[in-house]
Symmetry: C2
Subunit: 222 residues, 2 copies
């Protein structure tokens, strides 16, 4: 009984902090994306491409979640947008409390689109609200087309799913038919984008969608 009670409290507390974060971001007119995937699917590289294409039309900031190192924040910072690095020091996901602290380190009046890159993990990050408007997830073709059914929660919760590294489709056993079938069975209305950061395939389409989502939320004129 004690164990169950504590777990409930932790999740309840997290949800309360997440609601506070969401309210703060709404007041400031900020659209917030929780970007999730397994390690190495290409989240940071996609983010670099998105920033380069959208930074002239949107005020973008990034929160980088990693267990250790500031490698990703250094990569993002080189693209000229504000970035905060969170090191969870062992924890396998971001939670709303740590995001609350990271928000204190940003000038929220200068942000329209805030992208939070979660810890690389296809499981745990999907369980914790952090204050986001939407979740976006990345799966890369070398990971395999069996992943949606094996790790369903993240696929169920994502408003958009980015199938990345499509330039490697010919070098892997990835089955696009299985992927689309299984994703649609879990999440019939999600938006699916196919991208390659090598060939730039699909990056423009993804950016257009992200821009439209942001403009709609912050009621910015197109």
């Amino acid at each position: 009984m004690t164990e169950i009670k504590v777990v409930t409290n932790i999740l309840k507390t997290n949800d309360e902090f997440a609601a506070q974060n969401q309210q703060l971001l709404a007041e400031k007119g900020i659209f917030c994306i929780n970007l999730m995937s397994a390690p190495g699917s290409g989240k940071t590289t996609i983010l670099e491409k998105v920033i380069d294409r959208l930074k002239n039309s949107l005020k973008i900031a990034v929160i980088e979640g990693d267990i250790y190192t500031s490698k990703d924040a250094e990569r993002i910072g080189a693209h000229g947008v504000p970035v905060v690095q969170i090191n969870t020091e062992g924890a396998c996901h971001l939670d709303a409390n740590i995001i609350r602290k990271a928000l204190d380190a940003l000038d929220l009046s200068q942000i329209e689109l805030l992208i939070i890159e979660n810890v690389g993990n296809l499981v745990c990050p999907a369980e914790f609200l952090i204050g986001e408007d939407i979740k976006v997830m990345v799966l890369s073709t070398p990971e395999g087309s069996d992943k949606p059914l094996k790790y369903p929660l993240m696929f169920e919760k994502a408003r958009a799913i980015v199938l990345n590294k499509v330039d490697l489709l010919g070098s892997t056993s990835f089955n696009k038919e299985e992927f689309y079938h299984d994703v649609r069975s879990l999440n019939p209305t999600t938006n699916i984008f196919e991208t390659s950061c090598v060939t730039q395939h699909g990056i423009g389409e993804l950016c257009d969608w992200l821009k439209n989502q942001t403009y709609t939320k912050i009621k910015k004129e197109r």
Copy 2:
């Protein structure tokens, strides 16, 4: 205070169950490997190759850990060795208690090498002992050479690290020099194998090592 106490108890209980599993496996003369990696690095495919090469010289069994589905157990079962599928139904790692139950489902008198394929997750599985003799981990080249420093725990604890999908080295930005440097800084004595399940590169070397490790533990004549 309550929260800390509960977490301590959970980990302590897990370690006690793990010690019981390890003792049981030792009594039965079984060498046990905890096989870990991020999702999609190729654990199951490597396992299929290892089984095909070693099943005539060693009695092998497999425990498959997945959040949902029995896809991996079906793949392993097709190779003619005993296999038990665990579905964690949401949990992001295997623990010693669930392994204890899985061991009940196997005829331990007919096993020399037991390979437990953990849930695909580069973080949490490394934190939980399950009764293994050694941990073996897989990193695939498309995941990137920055992963050891970003996810150090698993790299620190692995007795062997398999760098898989080396056939894709030319199609990715993987930096082998960075990989070897960072792995050696975290774990100077680990064994590193480079493999490709497409070209079969390195599979023989990995199998020889696994066979030697098993024979040494179970004191089998070579």
